[in-house]
Symmetry: C2
Subunit: 449 residues, 2 copies
């Protein structure tokens, strides 16, 4: 079976059904999984989305809402639903999903939604709304299975079955003391395998990974990935068990963090919505382009400084663009490899030093090879061996600068606790533009005139 | 608790212990989780790694080996171990991990390892070695829990407990018929909750996601992420259950695919090892730089064509670099947003069309704003309003081309089933260099001379 991809025929069928009666529409929707409906929603307007959500049983409707990408504004569908339907859907939502969606509304709308629903649900969602979105507290779900260490095997199994009524899935059983403080974990497998006379405390695993609410989501993702966990418990300062972060949230976090990395490295603000409109895109990218404009003035002032050299040797601008362009691309290569390496593994000082040394060597090698090609072009096409020598030195020098800047700048940023990915290609290519022009034009003015 | 980061004191302690006796070393190692030892290994040489693996109990040693990043060559440690220790470790490894590591060896070494171990293990690993590394077959693990649909509740629970002896974790119980063909899944929770007189077939869920062995790992990752699954069963053409892919493998796949995307978009071969040596880096990047050199000659030939224009207006090279540089960065921005969007969601034709239209508008807006700034510079600094007008048009035009090329090229590549991420910044910036120079110099030669 293939991953679900929206194709034309699905959309055509849906559009046709939207023109028909409610029952025709409903019978088409039954063919799809809720996560598939969530993807189809991206092609509908809000009126159509509202009609479908209203039509679906609240259980399915809440799944669709929770599967929607937040970029497509599930909160707007929710706030515009009739109060009764909305109440049913919100009560069906997992607390963490409800919190993510409701947090996108203003305070007045949040209040309107929360006052209607079950008081305990409202309390739990209000608590979650207080945590930062990108921390363990913001990611966690308070629905989990927990037993007391003093329970017998039979008591524990009964308790697990009773608590699991309301849960879709659970992976780990948490063990707490009488004050709800986390003592350890047990696996259902070990519980089943244990003797009938066992207590939970007999099979309790006291070595376990946990996080506090304020831990950054990237750290939570790394922990889960490093220790191959399906979920991580979240506790407060007194070790009281508040919730758990599950692997499916972490997969979303990984995709989100990776999007941020690719965008930042390319000089786009990390919070630009991929499917946002052009105004948001301008707001997100124009500041970076203005920064680039400022750095481009630096490069262009180098050129202005040497304009008498260019006047005497009109072939230089054609080589300038090659040397600057190659430097920019080599720097982007070194930057991408280094940033990605920092993201996946923290580097020790020695590893960082070796990385810069490696990029120096790569720059020297590539620069020498490309430099020789350019030397031959200058010799054979422009019949100017001395020009060829200048170009060779400028090319090799610029690729060495590209490698060193492309690797050292993100490593230094990481060292001083700034996100290395903001060392975007925009900042790095300034180095290679300025130094490339300086090398080529400076050497040309000394050696060729 | 924080994610484990190697710090100096860990390494110093380890280096000191490596100078001491085996028992001192072993007692230090006991303080670390196997995945932490795997990270510490990155700072050791092969002799030291071999000594530690030899020292550790085979169960822990196999965990360390399986947690090592393949870039740090666990296969070389394995092949150099004494045969007995090696046999114990390989037999402890999960089949999928064993296969990943053994596949890195040449055929002779593979044979040497496999002939020593348990015959059934060797058979299973040989079967897995036949699947492509980046498919469901290459990712899957043949260790799983399965029961027959005809079993009673009690039979099923006994069977599950018996089968789980050898497994660290399991998440889903698969149900097969007498020919081992997959019939559906059951959750342990539902099995426990069912009446004592139930049969497996009573609680069998027949709607489930599965994949065939040849399905690409990116598709498997998307399915698991979309349907929030802990694992996906892998079947052959006759629906025979062969294994399962678990979420922890998928987290690795996501990180791997994201690394590939960032590298490709930056003009680095996708298979460059992040921690590889400089020779591998040169091999991986030089071909892209040579491609860039070829495209840079295109841009530079535009400049050569207009050298008489430059001769008459020596201010032009300073503006050329600004217009080309801004175009390259704007194209990289559009490229990053579009490639990332394609990776996370497939786009319909209509969405693709809207994306290009959006990037056109973004390019026009940013280009006009930056163009006005440059117009003012030309007016106030160079006192040349006509030059300002030419620069304004060239800037706006180049950013429009940047937006359209940066979004349309990856979308077209995707449409014809080529990986959109190879539309790297190297290829896209050629467009903006060539068209930027053409616009600026062409307009200058007509309007300013």
């Amino acid at each position: 079976m293939q991953s679900f991809e929206v194709n034309k025929s699905d959309i055509q069928k849906l559009n046709k059904a939207l023109e028909g009666t409610d029952s025709e529409l409903l019978s088409l929707l039954k063919e799809y999984h809720s996560s598939e409906i969530a993807i189809l929603f991206e092609n509908l307007n809000q009126e159509e989305q509202k009609r479908i959500i209203n039509l679906l049983p609240s259980e399915i409707a809440s799944e669709v809402i929770s599967e929607m990408d937040l970029e497509y504004h599930p909160e707007e569908i929710l706030i515009n639903l009739p109060p009764e339907k909305r109440q049913e859907i919100v009560e069906e939502l997992d607390y963490d999903d409800a919190t993510d969606i409701i947090s996108l509304l203003d305070e007045e709308d949040q209040h309107e939604i929360l006052q209607d629903i079950d008081k305990e649900d409202a309390h739990n969602i209000r608590t979650l709304l207080n945590y930062e979105e990108d921390t363990a507290g913001g990611l966690m779900n308070s629905q989990l299975i927990k037993v007391q260490a003093t329970m017998t095997k039979k008591q524990a199994i009964d308790e697990i079955i009773a608590q699991s009524e309301e849960m879709e899935e659970f992976y780990t059983v948490y063990v707490v003391d009488e004050h709800d403080r986390l003592q350890g974990i047990i696996s259902l497998k070990n519980l089943l395998k244990s003797k009938a006379s066992s207590y939970v405390s007999d099979i309790l695993n006291e070595e376990f990974i946990y996080v506090k609410t304020n831990i950054d989501q990237e750290t939570v993702a790394n922990l889960l990935s490093q220790y191959n966990l399906t979920s991580i418990p979240v506790v407060d300062d007194e070790m009281k068990l508040l919730g758990r972060v599950t692997f499916d949230d972490i997969i979303d976090v990984l995709n989100e963090e990776n999007t941020e990395d690719i965008l930042k490295i390319s000089g786009v603000s990390e919070d630009e919505e991929l499917s946002g409109n052009w105004k948001d895109a301008v707001k997100s990218r124009l500041p970076w382009l203005c920064l680039n404009l400022f750095t481009a003035f630096l490069a262009s002032s180098v050129i202005r400084y040497f304009d008498s050299t260019i006047d005497l040797l009109l072939i230089l601008p054609a080589y300038m663009t090659i040397i600057a362009g190659m430097g920019g691309n080599a720097a982007t290569q070194a930057l991408a490899v280094t940033v990605r390496r920092i993201t996946l593994n923290d580097l020790t000082d020695q590893q960082a030093y070796r990385t810069v040394l490696k990029e120096f060597t790569v720059g020297l090698t590539n620069g020498a090879i490309i430099g020789i090609i350019l030397f031959l072009v200058a010799l054979l096409y422009d019949s100017n061996p001395m020009l060829g020598l200048v170009i060779f030195i400028a090319m090799a020098g610029n690729l060495i600068i590209a490698g060193v800047a492309g690797s050292a700048i993100p490593l230094i940023l990481k060292k001083v606790n700034i996100d290395p990915a903001i060392a975007s290609s925009i900042i790095i290519t300034t180095f290679t533009d300025v130094f490339g022009f300086l090398l080529l034009l400076g050497l040309a003015s000394k050696l060729l005139l």
